[in-house]
Amino acid sequence: MMPSPVVRLTLRGVLARKFRILLTILAVVSGVAFVSGAFILTDSVKGAINNLFVELRGAVDLEIRTKIAFGDSARAERDPVDVSLMKDIAALDGVRLVEANLLRQATIIKPDGEPLKTSGPAFGISWTGPDGLDGRTLLEGVVPTKSGEVAIDKSSAKRAGYVLGDKVTLVGPIGKGEFTLVGLTGTGSTSGGGGASVCAFDPVTANEFLGADDKADSIYVGITPDAARSDVQKAIEGVLPSGYEVITGEQSAKETAGAINEIIDIFGKVLLGFAAISLFVSAFLIFNTFAIIVSQRLRELALLRAVGASTRQIHQMIIGEGLVVGIVATGLGLVGGLGVAKGITFAFNAAGAAFPAADLLISSRTIILSVAIGIGVTLAAAIVPALRAGRIPPVAAMRPELGFSALQRSKRLVVGVVTLITGITLFSIGLFVQPGGTVGTLGGSAIGAVLLFLGVASLSTTVAAPASRVISRILPFPLRPMTNSVPGRLASRNAQRTPRRTASTASALMVGLALVSTVSVVAGSVKKSFTDQLKASVTADFFVTNLSFQGLPVAFGERLAELPELGSVSPFRATVALINGEEKQIGAVKPEIGDLVDIDIQKGSINSLTDGDILLYKDPARDLNVDVGDTIDVTWQNGKTSTLTVGGIYADSSVAGNWLIGLDTLAEVSSAPPVDFFIGAKIADGVSIADARAAMDKVAADFPSAEVQDQAEFQKSQEDQLNQLLSIVYGLLIFAIFIAILGIANTMALSVFERTREFGLLRAVGMSRRHLKRSVRWEAIIVSVFGATLGIVVGIPLGIAVAIALPDSFVTATVVPINTIVTILIASVVVGIFAAIFPARRAAKLDILDAIATQ
């Protein structure tokens, strides 16, 4: 325990500096809120999704499905089950109810003819109503029982603008249909489908409209109350043909929810990554505040030493203040975490993500980690200032000019350089050597980046003064350097006055802006590489993609192929297979792909695809040591095996991937319902682009979820997707930048406080409030432009390194986006102005006489 005078002094110290500590607390609060918000959000959403699937599986006791030979159970493409099995199952003892589970793509067409856009998939299902095994509820109307009737989830119906009794156009896998809306459904506690739109039909209509061909995805079984589930399960296993399995309803719900939870976990980890960045930036702010406060209290601390306080007690006092700040901030941060979780949910829902409505869960893990992180970071940041405080000689009480024995410049240079080099080394090892897979890569480069930032922050103290001088000479560019006027000269000199303070304040901004620069270089490179690839290896005139990620009904591609306006058309389907013991992504295409994509065939022929041959990229061909005419053994996910002859070897895998088979080959080995991921098309000779486009659009009218794009549109839509991702990344980095702005404001406020007397003097000899404000503002601008420059200088090389490290199939070019750099520099000036608002106002408000009277 701390002795009581130290505790008293600590608390008094915090209270006496309420305002100065307030911003520090705010910085810790935002960091902790971000961390706890990420945990709360993922816990809550996962909880809600688990509940949703438990509710959806409702009364399902057992589920019958086909087996898979390998791979992830939830995402596997299973062969469908034969519905004729249901009769045998229903006859078994203990079986109460048997239902076909059928789930296919079905798009709702709004009254204006446009497809209803959903953030999740658009489903059509077979449904027997709330009394059946499916857990869906009927909120309004009746259960659809005959052809021409549909029930739609209430929120989708509302968004599309349909009410009960309306005629609704739907598009299924094999074509359009007209239905009467007879019912509105919900799932458990919600009126939606968790972002998906769900159209429910009676089993016969579903089979027909969804093109199921008397097959189902699986069979649901409900047992009688008196039956033991294990007995029924054994009985079912007895009558099942080989290749089938039976699992419990709970397992089924868990598997399905698990696949979604994995995505949410990734999302949560990304959020935590950004939270870590924010915390790192707040550590700079905390460190800076404590360092400044300690130097401002020099006399007080020296006095304490003079009257007998030990170095240890001084340490305890400063660390204690850090502890108080940490505890208060962590408490507030946890509360803020609820707000962050709500805010992120709101922001993503506004963008169409449809997080299920969930009660916010604060688990004990969230609390423990938030407390550890919040208090830990604060204490870590307070240690160096505390050690410095302990070095104050007691005599400084009488002679403050003796001051601190600061870390020697040469020593700091050595520490900075060593940290920087270690950081660069770790970063490079993580990025290029990639030890231990993804974890090693990310961990190594992240720790490397942290050390790199710390090294630069330490070294920036050395360059802070000259850099401030240069910046103030060229700003405000180019008409009149600020050093031409007194406020500008004062701003410049003040920025140079305490290089350590300027450097650590600027470094906080550096971190955020360095990451922005890095991301912009990587994104610019990805865009450029994508465009290059498109130009170099894609010869198709049109691309058809799906608005959602469900793929396109195969009927669309088949009808496109019949158009006389088009020369070559090929869909691209995907499957997985086990080759040489490893799971591989296999593409299934028509030989026409050769007219659409330049795969640079080296040996053999693309046409061999129609003979059931396999084509492969040169690298796996080399690894497997196979040549044209050799055979490869392939195990498909449903357990079937094939021996395929190598029909050709190609040298460009950027679009086609490593393995290609024919559509017929895929149809032979897999009976899972096929979907096209995209379709490429080339115009027939002598047909104008406009005519071809008109013909395609006409077909597309029957498939509203399909999007037909020419090369330029395709390129743009891909870039738009990337830009959307970028804006999310930048949006999350804003947190860190915001904390850095707080840091600049805080440092400026502390400096204004420290220079009270000086400002009073300036006012007395005739400086106007406006000029005084300007001098504070320009100092803030110098600091933030310095930070931005550091950020760019550090971030661009990092970005180039990442771009080089990314695989060639992804990034082939390196681009440094000049406009982003210019934007960052301009934005940093705005940041400076913004950060100076409060401190400048405070400086201008000082009463001259009081200020002059200050010691």
């Binding site: 006027s485 007194v486 000269r489 004062l490 000199r493 003040n494 140079q496 006055r497 007397r757 000086e758 003097l761 300036l762 006012r763 007395a764 000899v765 005739g766 400086m767 106007s768 409030r769 000029h771 001259i848 006489l849 002059i852």
Partner: protein, 246 residues
């Protein structure tokens, strides 16, 4: 004496300054009327709490009167807003404070020309050279305040006050922080500024030796002007002070 001395550089008419209210009311200045002639070195003396600092602050436009008028030249300070007061201080008034008189980030020369630079006025080079040479600062101009001795710092402050050739210079205990030898040096410089450079200085002090450098000493007690001595000696001043104290 030349006839300029009959013209007032600054003055207070029926000046009162009251702090607090009712029972806790303190009359820092109580109906003070006083004139400061151009080209004269005036010292204001009085015991602690006599109102001498308040009078100076109000005369300099740093503080506002409760009632009465303050004139700098023929400008009534009560009529001016903050902006106008600021430019008045910059152009018409010079200041010398007790200590920490200079901006630490600026060089000696920059400190001297600060009021001129703030007003965007080009210094009169000839005058500036005269002032710098008079204050014996020629070879210290590029130094920062931290590189100067206390006496040198105070000479820079005097030079700053003179640089804009103001109507009047106010000095608040300018030697309070200096040893007696350096203090005497500064006072001599101030005296030179008045006699050789024809400046007007009003100095608040409690030191009879300092006051003896002035042409005229005004004594304040309880917010009122109670006495006045022309061409004082330190013995005379000390004598009057003793009488005030009793």
């Amino acid at each position: 004496m030349t006839d300029v001395s009959t013209v007032a550089a600054a003055g207070a008419i029926n000046a009162s300054k009251i702090y607090g209210k009712d029972d806790s009311e303190v009359r820092a200045l109580d109906d003070v009327t006083v004139d400061f002639a151009l080209g004269q070195f005036t010292a204001i003396m009085g015991p602690s709490g006599s109102g001498k600092s308040t009078l100076m602050h109000c005369l300099a436009g740093l503080d506002a009167l409760t009632s009465g008028r303050v004139l700098i030249g023929d400008t009534d300070l009560a009529q001016l807003d903050d902006k106008q007061l600021t430019s008045l201080r910059r152009e018409k008034v010079g200041f010398i404070f007790q200590a920490y008189n200079l901006i630490p980030t600026l060089s000696a020369l920059e400190n001297i020309t600060l009021p001129l630079d703030l007003g965007g006025v080009k210094p009169d080079q000839e005058w500036l050279d005269t002032v710098i040479d008079k204050m014996n600062l020629r070879n210290r101009l590029s130094h920062r305040p931290s590189e100067l001795s206390g006496g040198q710092q105070q000479r820079v402050a005097v030079a700053r006050a003179l640089a804009s050739r103001p109507q009047i210079i106010f000095a608040d205990e300018p030697t309070g922080n200096l040893d007696s030898k350096t203090g005497a040096e500064i006072l001599a410089f101030m005296k030179h500024a008045v006699t050789d450079l024809h400046q007007t200085i009003v100095m608040v002090t409690h030191d009879p030796v300092a006051a003896a450098y002035a042409d005229r000493v005004i004594f304040l007690a309880d917010g009122k002007v109670v006495d006045e001595v022309n061409n004082p000696t330190s013995e005379l001043v000390l004598d009057r002070m003793k009488r005030l104290g009793s």
